[in-house]
Amino acid sequence: MKVVKVLGPGCKRCTATAEMVQKEAEALGVAVTIEKVTDYAAIAGYGIAATPGVVIDGTVVHAGGLPKPDDVRRWLSA
């Protein structure tokens, strides 16, 4: 079970990122729980400066802009 956190104040891209992770996880058959982190202080605590950010099992793998589907698959299958 991978814990994926999507960091972002609730902008359109943040929602799209969470949906993309969900879809790719289902396609790969990887069990995930997706958690949205919307609190600014919590987001800043991860050390990123642009949203959306993606954290997988505690590691920041992405910050700023919509991630590429290829990258999402790579993170989930790593």
Partner: protein, 349 residues
């Protein structure tokens, strides 16, 4: 699991060839545009000397021209921006002193990808990592005001001299306003939780992008930005075309001309609460200029619309106290005012 191509060199060569092909098509199309639009306008059952005829001819020529130039500028900036990220910019700016720090921050504000929805995470990310407050503000002022859409559209609609001037004066406002805010030592006016926040910047583990990725970034920027703003551009040009064809030439000379000194503060005050992206505002600026508005007044209006807006201030309220927001608006507003006056004084009609 990256689906890497078995022949990365060959894939890159194909991509470069495709890019060169598209660029060549762009040049050919741009060169043929005056003749094409003229032929198209002439084929319509309209008197070319009538108001409607002039408006339609203007629209048919300007719309493809502006969209072509905008696409080129956005692509180029998309490639350039792939060299920068907010995290890298922050690392470059952390611990910088006022002065050089402000200049670097304003310049990086133009080059770093920025979305106003990211303004707050970016702000606290910068301040928490030790970027001085004044330097952070220089970045935050330059990023939305001087961007590729504003510059590309100004270049396309009003000319490259005005675009370069906007770039220069926009950077000037960002640098000076950031310096002033830094000198005032207002760190105590940040919201308490922001002051106490100390972040440990992380390096996002991403492979350094190659040339093919950078071309992809440019293409992606075109799809995203041009895909989002084209409708505003077309609407703006349609409005401009209407004004072009029907409004008398010196309609605005009295209200927004050089002789009306009060028009600059009026333009700034009206522009501050307004929120419009550059795509919507530049065609309006062009129309204002065409009808006798002074350049400094029009640029001051555009700067205050893009640099300061009510929605952005509401978002920033989460991290700044009201007093600090007031100082921010006051300092930036005064800077824009100075640009407007200076411009009207320097460049007569």
């Amino acid at each position: 699991m990256t689906l890497a191509s078995p022949h990365p060199d060959r894939a890159l060569a194909r991509k470069l060839a495709a890019t060169a092909g598209v660029l060549a098509a762009w040049v050919a199309l741009y060169a043929a545009l005056p003749a094409l639009s003229e032929t198209l306008a002439a084929s319509l059952p309209l008197d070319p000397k009538s108001g409607l005829g002039r408006a339609v001819a203007f629209f048919l020529y300007d719309t493809p021209k502006v969209l072509l130039l905008l696409t080129l500028v956005v692509f180029a900036m998309g490639v350039v921006r792939s060299f920068f990220s907010p995290e890298r910019t922050r690392a470059l700016l952390a611990g910088r002193r006022l002065g050089t720090g402000n200049v670097a921050a304003a310049a990086l504000g133009v080059l770093t990808p920025f979305c106003s929805c990211s303004a707050v995470p970016l702000f606290i990310g910068f301040v928490g990592a030790g970027v001085p407050l004044g330097v952070t503000f220089s970045f935050l002022i330059a990023a939305p005001m001087v961007n590729e859409v504003a510059l590309g559209l100004l270049w396309a609609l009003v000319g490259w001299k005005v675009a370069l001037t906007y770039l220069g004066f926009g950077l000037g406002v960002a640098i000076v306003a950031g310096l002033v805010i830094g000198r005032l030592n207002l760190e105590a006016w940040l919201e308490r939780w922001v002051r106490e926040l100390r972040t440990a910047p992380v390096g996002v583990a991403a492979a350094s992008p190659g040339l093919a990725d950078r071309i992809d970034a440019g293409t992606e920027a075109v799809r995203e930005i041009v895909g989002r703003v084209w409708i505003w551009v077309v609407a703006g040009i349609a409005l401009g075309a209407g004004i072009h064809g029907f409004a008398p030439a010196d309609l605005l000379a009295a209200a927004m001309g050089r002789d009306a000194w009060w028009s600059v503060p009026a333009a700034v005050v009206i522009g501050i609460p307004m929120y419009a992206n550059a795509a919507g505002i530049v065609p309006v600026v062009e129309a204002l200029l065409g009808k006798g508005a002074a350049l400094g007044t029009a640029l001051a209006f555009m700067m205050s619309v893009t640099a300061l807006s009510l929605p952005e201030l509401v978002i920033l309220r989460k991290v700044l106290t009201l007093r600090l927001i007031a100082v921010f608006v006051g300092v930036v507003g005064l800077g824009i005012l100075a640009v407007g006056f200076l411009f009207n004084a320097l460049f007569g009609p």
